[in-house]
């Protein structure tokens, strides 16, 4: 009896530490299944992306040339250059091959390679969205923990109210309000863009200038997104409050602070991790309105400009990137959960 209990405890310990032979192969299988299904999803997106832009009404060659008196020969030449005259399956094959080689085609507007345009816009978006995601996660989770742990306290009541208001705000609206008040009337911040056009260029001054431009769009995204993290964190912490293991921890004589940090928060963090990873994927494309309000030269704005042109190859490229971002972020979220939560691994 005692032996059997010991055996069971050892197995449980092995499972938790992930060193057992059986569980590690299970982990590998879980991971490979998840990666494989992500790859399938990505391929479906690729197919959808290709055909979506082929059913649009416009004649790409006509759009591209924007010229009055094109002869039939000239049109044919353009169709040849862009491979538009080929049968659809062959176009699709070319598209796949080129995409896997990192060639996303050329912009209809300025004829630059789409990969290059996306490459230029990627860094500003990563900077803006990355910074704001880190800020909103840290602040949001902190507010959620503090509020949830002391439910009903003055801090909890006021922060929940405040966060609810933020949650209801569209980001472009908040952006416009901050722009008009802080950048307009008070002139504390620039009116948009990423750098001053006065050419105050390099080194420390350049960095300061960049941060000054980053401030407002970053504040907007942070405020709008922190609400979600804080609310989710708060409610999942509240769910944990009644858990027996907390009672045990307290009975062991642990300080309240330690009970929260070591026991309640790690357990309550799981839904937040999922949410953060989900948002991370969407947030790249979700910054379209904020980037447009603040003329921030990132991917969202690139999509907006391409949509107005209309510049299909660039749109195709950004769509692909956005979908890939969501899929990859989901995959990472799944994998992280597998590592964090033994229950997921066993399932």
């Amino acid at each position: 009896m005692a032996e059997a209990m010991l055996e069971g405890a050892r197995a449980a310990a092995e499972e938790r530490s992930g060193t057992g032979a059986v569980t590690s192969s299970g982990l590998a299988r879980t991971i490979s299944v998840k990666v494989f299904s992500a790859a399938i999803t990505l391929f479906v997106v690729l197919v959808g992306n290709f055909f979506l832009f082929r059913v649009l009404p416009a004649d790409p060659a006509k759009n591209l040339t924007r010229n009055s008196a094109l002869t039939a020969q000239q049109l044919a030449a353009i169709n040849r250059t862009f491979g538009l005259g080929l049968p659809l399956p062959q176009q699709f094959w070319n598209y796949l091959v080129q995409t896997f080689h990192g060639n996303l085609g050329r912009s209809f507007v300025d004829q630059l390679p789409v990969a290059e345009k996306i490459g230029q816009a990627l860094w500003p978006t990563v900077l803006l969205v990355g910074t704001s995601t880190v800020l909103s996660t840290v602040i949001g989770v902190w507010i959620g923990i503090r509020g949830g742990w002391n439910r009903g306290s003055r801090f909890d009541r006021s922060s929940t109210a405040f966060v609810n208001v933020l949650y209801a705000m569209p980001d472009f609206w908040l952006g416009m309000v901050l722009l008009i008040t802080l950048a307009g009337k008070l002139a504390l911040f620039p009116d948009g863009g990423m750098h001053s056009f006065t050419g105050t260029g390099s080194g420390l001054a350049g960095l300061g200038d960049l941060l000054w431009h980053l401030a407002l769009p970053c504040i907007v995204l942070t405020l709008v997104y922190l609400a979600e993290y804080s609310l989710v964190m708060r409610s999942s912490l509240i769910d944990e409050l009644k858990a027996d293991y907390l009672l045990t921890a307290r009975a062991k004589g642990l300080r309240d602070d330690l009970v929260r940090r070591r026991h309640a928060v790690p357990n309550a963090l799981l839904p937040s991790v999922t949410l953060i990873m989900l948002n991370l994927g969407f947030v790249i494309s979700g910054a379209i309105t904020t980037e447009t309000v603040f003329s921030w030269p990132g991917l969202g704005r690139l999509s907006y400009v391409s949509l107005n042109a209309p510049d299909y190859p660039t749109l195709e490229g950004t769509f692909l990137l956005f979908s890939a971002a969501v899929i990859v972020a989901n995959l990472i979220g799944d994998l992280l959960l597998t590592l964090f939560d033994p229950r997921v691994r066993q399932a």
């Binding site: 009404p57 009055s68 009541r157 009116d191 948009g192 006065t198 907006y304």
Partner: protein, 638 residues
């Protein structure tokens, strides 16, 4: 085809504004005027204040002049490069620029151009006739990118040869007045001979070598470009040292930047934003008639160039009486007032009135005006009897028409409900659909429409705009997806085509006479209803800069973004400084003196009201939520 966005050098639409215009409308009360704050420290010193910053909702895509096509691209190309001629500020006649004089042989087939002496490229190499000849040789090869890009100017040229160091001789197939206005950027042979036609599409031209008044010092595609004045410019040193074009995706931010003085000139504002600057101290507003119009287009009977009918247009619109009735049902002054906020005027013929020598004004007795009773009489006389539901019927068929509008156009989407209402009032049923530009282009090309709204930007040379109504511009190819030509009315009249070819071989008054006759023909046939001519609205810091050379040469002329002209840039100078220009040929003697805008009292009521309102709403919301929360908590406790 994409019309206003497209070549040859048509001005850009307010397209970019559309989506963001919606955002701008989100906070109208807050978007009120503010007293100008001091310029930021970096820009307040006198030396750097000769940096002139232009804000626009559009930006330069590429510095390769063969690839760019937006009006902002051309605005910058015209500063980096010189053309042979300028369009004159007074009457759009060709005036000397790199060519000091020119003449043609008696038969009009051989043209001799004398090139300005002593001009240097920005890298120090002298500019000669060889460069000019090279540029045109490169442009005249049919089928090439270069040819497509400049066809409107070089289409008739068969050869270009430098016969001396400063003389170029060109030959043309037929006489054409375009040879007096060759708006083609002259390129340095020693740079461009290394760029083959194949390499052209990937050549970025990041450090352009030009002969113009400015050189590029930094460029960020689709965002901003910084230009430095060329101190050795043959036309005199420009009055500013640095010129910046900055893109704003958000016109509200652009307006704020002008009010704060971080930019000095704003182009591309919406009428509402532009009007909100009226009381801003130091800002002057310009409401300049430009070469633009919006139209209500009719399907006059869609067909291909071979005359084969296509599409599904309502045959009722082939009847001139129905078109007349529609034109008499429209109350266009209302659109000008409510939609354009008076930044435009009621339209009539297809060449806008700023081109005074070409514009045709119909006599008052013949012009269409709001007269619904007359419209109803016309329809009744035509056999359209009032039927059930207030919709007219003829031979058992209801008078029911589709109206397509562009969802990208904030003004046209506002116009459409008015038009629907006016037509309903005379017994015409209208089904309204908003769609994308590309969808509409395809529908027009296939003739699958009854009416739609769009617009054109007309350039000083009316040739292209007139060509839009020729039979050869109808669709071609085969169904179901026909290739659209430029025609968007499917008007086809051999007599009109004959006049079109006739005007191509004429110049001056005889040409103007034919051009007017063609417009009269279109107007009387009611092929199209030109609703209004919309202005180009601009605003600038008159407290900081002066010296603009408007075109046309009047206080309400275009200050910048002139119709293929660049008169102001060389003349702008900081307010209070004296003109430093010596060469009067370049138009600075036409400058408009510093005009001060009416001063404002600073903070405006709308702003205070807006903020107060927002605060009240916010506070109320917080109170409500916290109260509900408290109640919920109390429930829980119990």
């Amino acid at each position: 085809m994409l019309r206003s966005k497209s070549r040859p050098r048509l001005r850009l639409f307010a397209a970019g504004l559309a989506a963001v215009g919606g955002l701008a409308a989100a906070a109208p009360a807050l978007a009120a005027t503010a007293a100008p704050a001091a310029r930021s420290a970096a820009m307040s010193s006198p030396a750097s204040s000769s940096t002139f910053v232009v804000g626009n909702t559009d930006a330069v895509d590429t510095l390769n002049p063969f690839l760019g096509f937006t009006s902002q691209d051309y605005e910058v190309y015209g500063l980096i490069y010189d053309n042979l001629m300028d369009y004159g500020q007074l009457n759009y006649a060709g005036t000397p620029r790199l060519a000091t004089s020119w003449s043609h042989s008696k038969d009009g087939l051989t043209w001799t151009y004398h090139i300005r002496k002593g001009v240097k490229w920005s890298d120090g190499v002298p500019l000669t006739a060889a460069d000019v000849a090279y540029t045109f040789q490169r442009n005249i090869k049919p089928g090439s990118t270069e040819f497509s890009d400049n066809e409107a100017y070089v289409g008739e040229i068969t050869s270009a040869v430098a016969t001396g160091k400063y003389t170029v001789v060109m030959k043309v197939k037929h006489f054409t007045p375009v040879m007096n206005r060759l708006e083609v950027p002259i390129l340095p042979e020693h740079i461009w001979k290394n760029v083959s036609e194949k390499q052209l599409s990937s050549f970025k031209n990041l450090n352009p070598v030009g002969s113009g008044a400015f050189t590029v010092s930094s460029f960020s595609s689709n965002q901003s470009i910084r230009l430095t004045a060329n101190p050795n410019y043959w036309g005199g040193k420009p009055g500013i040292k640095t010129l910046v074009f900055q893109r704003f995706d958000n016109p509200t931010a652009e307006k704020l930047a002008l009010a704060n003085g971080t930019i000095d000139f704003a182009e591309g504002l919406t009428p509402a934003l532009w009007q909100s600057l009226k009381r801003t101290q130091g800002v002057k507003l310009i409401n300049a008639p430009a070469g633009n119009f919006d139209e209500l287009a009719f399907n006059n009977g869609a067909a291909t160039v071979t005359g084969k009918p296509i599409g599904n247009g309502n045959p009722a619109l082939k009847d001139i009486n129905v078109r007349h009735a529609i034109s008499y049902a429209l109350n266009i002054p209302v659109l000008v007032k409510k939609v354009l906020l008076n930044t435009g005027e009621v339209g009539n013929s297809i060449i806008p009135p700023i081109y005074t020598q070409f514009h045709y004004t119909p006599p008052a007795s013949q012009s269409y005006h709001f007269d619904p009773a007359k419209a109803e009489t016309i329809l009744s006389a035509d056999g359209w009897k009032m039927g059930p539901g207030g919709i007219r019927v003829k031979n058992g068929k209801q008078l029911s028409l589709r109206l397509f509008v562009r969802n990208q156009s904030p003004t046209q989407t506002q116009d459409a409900p008015y038009i629907k209402g006016w037509l309903n009032a005379i017994g015409i049923k209208v089904t309204l659909t908003a769609m994308s530009d590309s969808q509409l282009t395809a529908d027009i090309g296939n003739g699958q429409y009854d009416m739609f709204m769009w617009g054109w930007g007309v350039e000083p040379n009316p040739d292209f705009q007139l060509s839009v109504f020729t039979c050869g511009q109808r669709s071609y190819g085969s169904g179901p997806n026909y290739s659209p030509g430029w025609s968007d009315s499917f008007y086809c009249n051999p007599a009109y085509d004959k006049l079109y070819h006739q005007q191509q071989a004429l110049d001056g008054a005889p040409r103007a006479k034919v051009v007017k006759q063609m417009q009269k023909m279109l107007y009387e046939a009611d092929a199209y209803n030109v609703l209004y001519f919309y202005n180009d609205i601009q605003a600038y810091r008159s407290d900081l800069f002066t010296g603009f050379a408007p075109s046309p040469d009047k206080p309400n002329g275009l200050y910048l973004y002139q119709e293929i002209q660049w008169w102001s840039y060389r003349c702008i100078r900081p307010a209070g400084s004296s003109p430093s220009l010596t060469d009067h040929n370049i138009g600075c003697d036409h400058e408009i003196g510093a005009v001060t805008a009416p001063t404002s009292s600073g903070v405006n009521g709308g702003l205070i009201g807006g903020i107060a309102g927002a605060v009240v709403v916010l506070a109320g919301g917080i109170w409500l939520i916290s109260r509900r929360r408290r109640v919920a908590m109390a429930d829980e406790r119990e």
